[in-house]
């Protein structure tokens, strides 16, 4: 493509302004046509106005088409859409002349009335206008903020980042969308400005006419990043039209290249700076913190009747919050009974925090606690339990905090703590567990916090 003179582009940029004139005139013609058909006598005089309006529309359409063509010389538009927009626009101009000619009686074509032409014109205006909008704003502009049900499935899968941070692949979910939004309208299979194509990983790697655009680990030697950060007035600034990359997008790009520009790296396999973490949270509603277990588990809500029963049996029952129906349960009475415990078992799916301390819990009951699979916090300090009971809770796969202080447990229980896969903290103050056993436990699980004498 040869250099286009500035004046052409200057005029061309009036296209979005001028284009609204024919739209207005032709729509007005349509409205008047409806009125004059509905109230033939009252609005008979409109007929002359319709043909004037159509003539103006036709002239406007020609003007728009011409400066539209000038604008297209600026380049950078998606070629397929541009093709249709251009030819439908030209067709529109021709048709409106035809409509005017018929309406004013200059020519007469059998079976085709000016009304037919007007209907056709309005349909054409809608389609051409929409394509024009897509050209300037991008094809997702209109629907980006549409309610979910209005979006097609395809669109959803394209633009939704997985809500679970575990499944996010940095390039696929975070970087490629930036390229799609901001770059590929000029760097695609059909139109690859500067010989660069950014539509898929292989092509990104191929680089452009001047070589690679990405130097892994060196964002400041990577054209892809660098040129997006130039001042907008610079000729080398990317993208030359449309919206520049946002702060978040720049930061993401910079970080991704600095981390080696891998195409298959998963988000959580990287360490990222706090700034980025905040941006993830703000712009993608992405909490990169590991979700607490109670948010991942799906248990049915406990029947109100059972909650009442529990309260009567001495249990203080609270949902974790107004939004969660997993339960925080504490024994409120002095001595636990078998029937109180049996009532508790009705809620074993829902209980995630449980405190049965200082209430004479026995090994037998502790054994039955092993069926409370969703426990994350268990406080049974000062109970009548021994190693015999503790060994049964090794099945509690999600248990994170275990409080056993002031019990008679010994070194034998250490093996259980080593087996609990989610255990983070265990409280062993005032037990018979020796220093040596604790050191061994540290060796087994260096991340476990053991709080003891």
């Amino acid at each position: 493509m040869g250099e286009v003179s500035d004046i052409v582009i200057f005029l061309g940029r009036f296209h979005p302004l001028i284009v609204h004139l024919p739209i207005g005139f032709l729509l007005l013609a349509g409205i008047m046509e409806i009125l004059s058909s509905a109230y033939k006598i009252k609005y008979a005089s409109l007929n002359t106005a319709i043909s004037i309006s159509m003539l103006c529309g036709a002239l406007g359409a020609v003007a728009s088409a011409i400066i539209g063509y000038m604008l297209s010389k600026q380049g950078g538009y998606e070629s397929n859409t541009l093709f249709w927009h251009q030819w439908l626009g030209i067709l529109l101009a021709v048709l409106s002349f035809l409509g005017w000619a018929i309406k004013s009686g200059k020519i007469n074509i059998p079976f085709i009335s000016s009304k037919t032409i007007i209907i056709l014109l309005i349909v054409l205006i809608s389609i051409t206008g929409h394509l024009g909008g897509n050209l300037t704003h991008g094809s997702d502009y209109l629907t980006a903020y549409a309610p979910e049900f209005l979006k097609g499935d395809e669109e959803k899968s394209n633009f939704k980042i997985p809500s679970n941070p575990d499944s996010i692949v940095v390039f696929k979910h975070l970087i490629q969308p930036i390229l799609n939004n901001k770059c590929i309208s000029c760097h695609n299979d059909t139109k690859s400005n500067g010989g660069l194509n950014l539509t898929n990983t292989d092509k990104v790697n191929d680089g452009g006419d001047n070589g690679m655009v990405i130097t892994p680990f060196q964002p400041y030697n990577s054209e892809l990043f660098l040129r997006s950060t130039f001042p907008e007035s610079s000729k080398k600034f990317m993208p030359p039209k449309g919206t520049a990359l946002t702060f978040t997008e720049l930061k993401l790009l910079e970080w991704w290249i600095a981390e080696g520009a891998s195409f298959d790296g998963r988000l959580l396999s990287y360490k990222f700076p706090k700034e980025l973490k905040n941006l993830f949270e703000r712009d993608f509603k992405l909490n990169t913190k590991k979700r607490p277990y109670y948010e991942t588990v799906k248990s049915p809500k406990l029947d109100e009747q059972i909650v009442l029963e529990l309260s009567e049996q001495g249990w203080l029952v609270n949902p974790l919050s107004a939004e969660h129906h997993m339960l925080d349960v504490k024994f409120f009475d002095n001595e636990i009974t078998l029937s109180a415990f049996e009532t508790l078992e009705k809620a074993k799916e829902q209980i995630t925090w449980l405190d049965i301390s200082k209430s004479g819990l026995t090994d037998d009951l502790l054994k039955r606690l092993s069926a409370f699979k969703n426990l994350t916090y268990l406080n049974i300090h000062k109970s009548n339990i021994t190693d015999e009971g503790v060994k049964h809770i090794e099945t509690l796969a999600h248990l994170e905090v275990l409080n056993l202080y002031n019990t008679e447990i010994t070194d034998k229980s250490i093996i259980v703590f080593a087996k609990l896969p989610s255990l983070k903290r265990v409280y062993l103050w005032n037990t018979k567990i020796t220093k040596k056993a604790i050191e061994e436990l540290y060796k087994e699980n260096p991340n476990l916090k053991i709080i003891s004498n």
């Binding site: 607490p292 919050s321 409120f332 916090y377 409080n403 202080y405 709080i451 004498n453």
Partner: protein
């Protein structure tokens, strides 16, 4: 607030049948007139008229799962000197005796004691600092025990507040407003979250003063008041000597059973009264009688320290058994927390070193350092730091410059300094072993991550599972919240 709670006054009106209404009218317009005078905006947690109402609430709280279930607030009245205790500034000694730069003090308010003082020489810290623990936290040698638990603490070094005098500043910290009249934090929490204590109040306040009573601060009752919340949510103040709660013992010849029967009858009478007038204060009365009855049993057990092993008592220091000491209040706070008390407010006065910095500050530290640290250790070994939040801090800091005459070393002091100070938090949901925020070289202004009092309050609420912006109470036609229209949760200190 959920719609399904019937407004108490509407509930009351719904109980009035037409016939009863005319019956009453015949007796006089008194009832109707009185009823209309009662503030109609008071909204109850739930179960109007039920003494067990405090066990449940329908406010839609907590908004999200809490990290902290209870709070122990070690409030240091009088404002501990941050530059002598936690905020180490080597520049102070370099500038010792030189006038503090005008750029810092220009246009700032100080108390009337130094407001007019033209000489404002910087004085170096009177203590010696060292780094402690794996976290390398700077703590002065006045606080040797606190230094040992530094890895469990989160120091916020960039606190700042609005008020330059004690009472307004304390009121601001505890109620979110400088003027009295708003509910204190503990009242908000017990009102919003309901009860977890079986036979003790949910909100307990205890006070202590330094042995020399060097500091003239008064503990106003509204520091633990309920403001416009129903008065049953106000803190119960335990006395600092003798019985913590008066009249725990039944008089001679009155058995517990007799007492129970009397209370039952009185409750029936009160209920009748409530049915008639719908005054929420009657409810408060009913629940307070009931609480007193429970406390006749629970408080003697609570205050009996004979079940504490000696090594635990020793941690809290020599004053642990002296009622009304900070140490006694600290161990009591742990015992209250164990029994499910939601909010324990231990206030200690004695930090106001205007003219006696050189001898009084160290004494203050000796009185409070070991108990505060012991509380942390004790809660930790019991696993209670999991869900108990401990807060240590005053209402503001103290000036890096001198109050008084630099030649008169005996009477050196530091004035009130609201622009920067340090406090620490520990336990539930707070990152241990970090120092957050920073002040300039003089400890004068925060220069990194400033934390306003409302931010602190918002963070406290957040830890309790409450979105401070959504927890409101309508009073006099306006919805109030603890943080007024301010406050940002300090997310960086959340674990």
């Amino acid at each position: 607030m959920k719609k399904n709670i019937l407004h108490p006054f509407e509930a009351h009106q719904a109980n009035l049948t037409r016939r009863a209404f005319f019956g009453k009218m015949a007796k006089g317009v008194g009832a109707a007139a009185l009823a209309s005078m009662i503030n109609p905006s008071v909204l109850f947690g739930s179960n109007i008229g039920s003494i067990n109402a405090h066990l449940k609430n329908n406010l839609g709280l907590p908004h999200f799962p809490p990290k902290a279930k209870r709070v122990i607030y070690l409030f240091q009245n009088g404002a501990p000197s941050h530059v002598d205790l936690f905020d180490y500034k080597p520049m102070l000694r370099k500038w010792h005796g030189k006038q503090i730069p005008d750029e810092l003090t220009h246009g700032k308010r100080f108390s009337t004691m130094t407001g007019g003082q033209l000489d404002r020489p910087v004085i170096g810290e009177i203590s010696n600092f060292a780094q402690h623990g794996q976290s390398g936290a700077w703590v002065s040698d006045f606080m040797p025990e606190t230094a040992k638990v530094a890895d469990d603490l989160c120091f916020i070094k960039s606190m700042y507040t609005e008020s330059v005098n004690h009472a307004p500043a304390i009121t601001f910290f505890l109620t979110g407003n400088e003027q009295p009249g708003r509910p204190s934090i503990g009242s908000w929490l017990t009102y919003g979250l309901g009860s977890t204590a079986k036979d003790l109040p949910d909100f307990v306040a205890m006070t202590s003063v330094d042995k020399q009573a060097s500091c003239g601060q008064i503990f106003y009752d509204y520091y633990w008041g309920s403001g416009f919340l129903p008065s049953k949510f106000q803190g119960v103040k335990f006395r600092g000597g003798g019985d913590p709660v008066l009249y725990l013992k039944n008089p001679e010849g009155i058995s517990r059973n007799t007492r129970r029967k009397m209370l039952d009858d009185m409750q029936a009478l009160n209920e009748m009264n409530y049915q008639e007038f719908g005054d929420p204060e009657i409810n408060t009365r009913i629940s307070q009688y009931e609480m007193s009855y429970k406390m006749q049993m629970s408080v003697p057990e609570l205050t009996d320290l004979s079940d504490e092993p000696q090594h635990v008592l020793d941690m809290y220091g020599p004053d642990v058994k002296r009622k009304g000491s900070f140490a006694y209040n600290c161990i009591m706070a742990r015992r209250l927390a164990e029994r499910g008390v939601r909010f324990t407010q231990c206030m200690h006065a004695g930090w106001d070193q205007h003219t006696n910095l050189n001898h009084q500050l160290k004494i203050q530290c000796q009185d409070t350092d070991a108990p505060s640290a012991a509380l942390i250790k004790d809660l930790k070994q019991r696993g209670m730091l999991e869900d108990t939040l401990v807060i240590w801090g005053g209402e503001f800091g103290r000036t890096p410059f001198l109050q008084g005459n630099i030649k008169d070393e005996k009477n050196w002091g530091r004035d009130h300094h609201p622009y920067a100070f340090t406090m620490w938090m520990a336990g539930a949901g707070v990152k241990p072993g970090i120092s957050y925020g920073a002040t300039d070289d003089f400890g004068f202004n925060p220069i990194e991550n400033p934390v306003h009092v409302h931010d602190f309050q918002a963070t406290l609420m957040h830890l309790m599972g409450i979105n401070h912006e959504h927890f409101t109470y309508k009073h006099q036609g306006r919805r109030y919240r603890l943080t007024d229209v301010h406050g940002h949760v300090v997310k960086d200190i959340l674990s």
